[in-house]
């Protein structure tokens, strides 16, 4: 019965969203119709919530008459993973997508703000159609409520690798980001229909782009952290198509966050902002297509069904087709006021956009190139990390080189010499970092440049905070407390980028790995540490059994212990690795337990030393924090009516 209620409410939500779309789009000059569209948006969100709640209930109750539950759940699973199982599979995740889209539509409908009624009504309408598209796809191509006959006695269980708290939160965060980009898309389409994209429009756009970018940052960071500790390869980013699928929308969302500021403050580059909003949503859909269609070989495997891939491609074509056609027709007519000088806050933000957009384009080419070559009969190829490292790294490097100047320059016309003078200490610190790294690493130039850039971003961010503090009045603490939230948010995000850069460069350039074959009691020396395998024993978890190895780590006389596991889930023929991680200030010692060799008593142990790897995740958190603070600043500004 619950499944039928779920399917029925999803269908109802589809009907409501379609009505919301029609009334919203035709309600531009008709107050009652626009009001009805807004009310429909609210009700469609509530109805979609009921539908999603039904799906969660089915997973919690382990109702194996439902195909999605039978394929992805198991009665023995802990409750958290039963709930997470609702979105840990293709069908459920698409319902989540639709649900989030409906909720965002409702929020958009309730925040009319300073926008004109026609723009707002059309935005709500387009969002309704986006939700409807997602629901059509969900109901007709991946129905999570489909029944199974005969029903199995037991489900096949969620892939053990996915039974992890980080991965329970990863898909919802990523979807909040992906779907968050649908609202800027809706607003952009509304602005194009309207033929007007003014400062009020950009003001309405900003919170959505910020929220989407923040959720994407958190989602990608969490996914990367999960890959680091769960997959047992010692890596955190693999330039895998599935990772690129989320990285491209993130880059474009980052550009959009910045360009929307220019459009809001100065009214300029509105058409570029619109283009970015369309591309951001396009890339989010493309990401869904790449992940779901299986056209690209990925180290992350997902359900592969070509029919679904084609359907996503059709949705993508419709969204981009309408978006770009409208853009071509209307963008030239948009007013372009307020010019700016080559050295100014605006120009720096334009460079930011240029760099991020090109980076996204390069990642897109690298990700799709294998498809192109295959289609042209050139055989099967893969484009690996070397390509992305050699293209994306220099681009982002160049971007980071000019980044600290951005906040220092004033709007319209900036004074480059004065800014450079203030930033001189940061530049000196970066130079010192470069020289020290060069000497210590025996003249390896690339890591030296990378670390110097990280220090440059951090120090540059601090210099900016300092110059703003100096402008204040009173004592130091008072000055700090009086700094606008926007200064803190921007600085947190920029310094976070620097922290992430330090971690990424150090980890990539200076990581060490070693495989050892150890009997209990034997030791191996590794990066200044003596690692001893103490014993290997068996343990029982809630729904798995595990082989656990305990290690003793001696370093400069200090002794610590750590353990690594291999887990065997009865529902899965494959064991999973639970690595042991011993964090210290200079980095992580990371131990993965391999197989016991056939006919031997020794265990394969893989040791990794990942210097400064925690900075990667701290940096990502700082960037997300920057986004969140920025949202808070916008909310405060709105409340104070400024």
């Amino acid at each position: 019965m619950i499944a039928e209620i779920g399917a029925f409410t999803a269908m109802l939500a589809l009907a409501l969203s379609l009505a919301q779309g029609l009334l919203g789009l035709t309600g531009a000059r008709n107050e009652p119709r626009a009001g009805a569209a807004a009310a429909l948006a609210q009700s469609s969100a509530w109805i979609a919530a009921i539908s999603f709640a039904c799906l969660i209930a089915l997973f919690v109750r382990s109702d194996f008459t439902v195909a999605a539950v039978a394929a992805n759940s198991h009665v023995d699973k802990p409750l958290l993973y039963k709930i997470a199982g609702a979105w840990g599979n293709h069908e459920g995740s698409m319902l989540l997508w639709s649900f989030v889209s409906a909720v965002f539509g409702a929020v958009l409908a309730s925040t009319r703000g300073a926008q004109t009624q026609s723009l707002w009504a059309r935005g709500v309408g387009v969002q309704g159609l986006v939700t409807a598209g997602a629901l059509i796809y969900t109901l007709f191509l991946s129905n999570p409520f489909a029944r199974l006959d005969p029903a199995p006695m037991q489900g096949s269980g969620l892939n053990p690798l996915l039974q992890d708290p980080a991965l329970a939160a990863h898909p919802p965060l990523l979807y909040l980001g992906y779907v968050g980009l649908s609202v800027p898309f809706s607003l952009a389409i509304a602005a194009l229909i309207e033929g007007k994209a003014d400062q009020a429009w950009a003001k309405a756009l900003r919170p959505w782009t910020l929220a989407a970018w923040t959720f994407l940052t958190l989602g990608i960071g969490l996914g990367s952290y999960w890959a680091y500790y769960e997959l047992g390869w010692g890596g955190w980013w693999f330039w895998d198509p599935v990772e690129n699928a989320s990285f491209m929308p993130w880059l474009v969302a980052g550009a959009l966050v910045h360009s929307a500021i220019v459009t809001e403050r100065r009214g300029s580059i509105a058409s570029w902002t619109i283009l970015l909003a369309i591309m951001g949503f396009g890339l989010a859909l493309l990401g869904t297509f790449l992940v779901r269609s299986g056209v690209l070989t990925s180290v992350h495997a997902f359900a592969v069904d070509p029919r679904r891939g084609i359907a996503v491609l059709v949705l993508l074509a419709v969204a981009l087709g309408i978006g770009f056609t409208l853009y071509a027709l209307r963008a030239p007519k948009l007013a372009q006021p307020a010019g700016f000088a080559a050295v100014s806050r605006e120009s720096m933000l334009v460079w930011n956009n240029f760099g991020l957009a090109i980076a996204a384009g390069v990642v897109l080419i690298g990700t799709l190139y294998p498809l192109l070559v295959e289609a042209l009969g050139g055989g099967l190829i893969s484009v690996g990390p070397p390509f992305f490292n050699m293209t994306v790294a220099p681009l982002l490097g160049a971007l980071f080189l000019i980044l600290p100047f951005g906040p220092m320059l004033s709007w319209r016309v900036g004074d480059i010499a004065a800014s450079a003078k203030k930033l001189a200490p940061a530049a000196l610190l970066a130079l010192a970092t470069m020289i020290i790294t060069l000497v210590l690493s025996q003249w390896r130039a690339i890591p030296a440049i990378g670390l110097a850039l990280g220090v440059w971003l951090i120090a540059g961010g601090l210099v900016y905070v300092w110059t703003r503090v100096q402008r204040g009045e009173g004592r130091m603490l008072r000055k700090l407390a009086l700094l606008p939230l926007a200064v803190w948010s921007m600085s947190a995000a920029h310094i976070g980028a620097g922290v992430l850069t330090l971690g990424a460069v150090a980890e990539t350039a200076f990581r060490r790995e070693q495989a050892a074959l150890l009997n209990p009691g034997e030791s191996v020396d590794f990066v200044g540490r003596r690692v001893t395998l103490l014993e290997v024993g068996e343990a029982e978890g809630p729904n798995y059994s595990s082989t656990r190895a305990n290690f003793r780590i001696e370093r400069d006389g200090a002794v610590q212990r750590m353990s690594a596991e291999r887990r065997f889930y009865p529902t899965s023929p494959m064991p999973t690795t639970e690595v042991g991680i011993l964090s210290s200030i200079d980095g992580d010692l990371y131990v993965a337990l391999g197989d016991a060799a056939r006919g031997e008593s020794a265990w394969t142990v893989r040791l990794y030393y990942n210097p400064l790897v925690h900075l990667i995740f701290i940096g990502a958190i700082m960037m997300a924090l920057g986004g969140a603070l920025s949202l808070l600043a916008l909310a405060r500004r709105k409340r104070s009516g400024a």
Binding site: G232, T297, I365, I381, V383, M390, P394, M574, T604, R606
Partner: protein, 146 residues
């Protein structure tokens, strides 16, 4: 500076960055693309030392460990078997009789030296490349196992 000059400078810089990015992309795609080969195509399609992805099924009963701790196993596409050596911990999903992709290079008279071995998160998954290779050999049994 006059406004027109400023605009010219910006456009010129943007153009230079764009050209550099395109050059890097082109160069990168030429140099760092890794071809996928099936075991039977290895010697004809890949130069010794060239980095390729070798895909196929792990032959049952061939997995063993060298004296130095490196793993050895044979990969087949139904026609030819290639010996692979990998100095590292095999992924969790690695199994005899199942699909695998080994990235690395070969030298005449030696085993294929893998730097990376990829198996998939999902145990029912067969790497697409392997499926293609086996289909080409006409040894495909049924559709993708789901």
């Amino acid at each position: 500076m006059r406004r027109r000059d400023q605009r010219l400078i910006m456009i010129a810089t943007a153009g230079a960055v764009l050209v550099a990015a395109m050059a890097l992309t082109f160069w990168g795609l030429r140099d760092s693309v890794v071809y996928f080969v099936a075991p039977s195509e290895l010697s004809e399609r890949a130069q010794p030392g060239q980095r390729v992805r070798l895909g196929g099924l792990v032959v049952e009963g061939t997995l063993r460990r060298d004296a130095d701790g490196a793993m050895r196993f044979a990969v087949t596409d139904g026609a030819v078997q290639v010996e692979v050596r990998y100095d590292g911990v095999l992924p969790d999903l690695f199994r005899e009789g199942q699909g695998v992709v080994a990235e690395g290079s070969w030298q005449p008279g030696q085993a294929f030296e893998a730097e990376r071995v990829l198996a998939k998160h999902d145990e029912t998954y067969m790497p697409r490349e392997v499926a293609e290779a086996i289909k080409q050999r006409g040894e495909w049994k049924g559709d993708t196992p789901q």
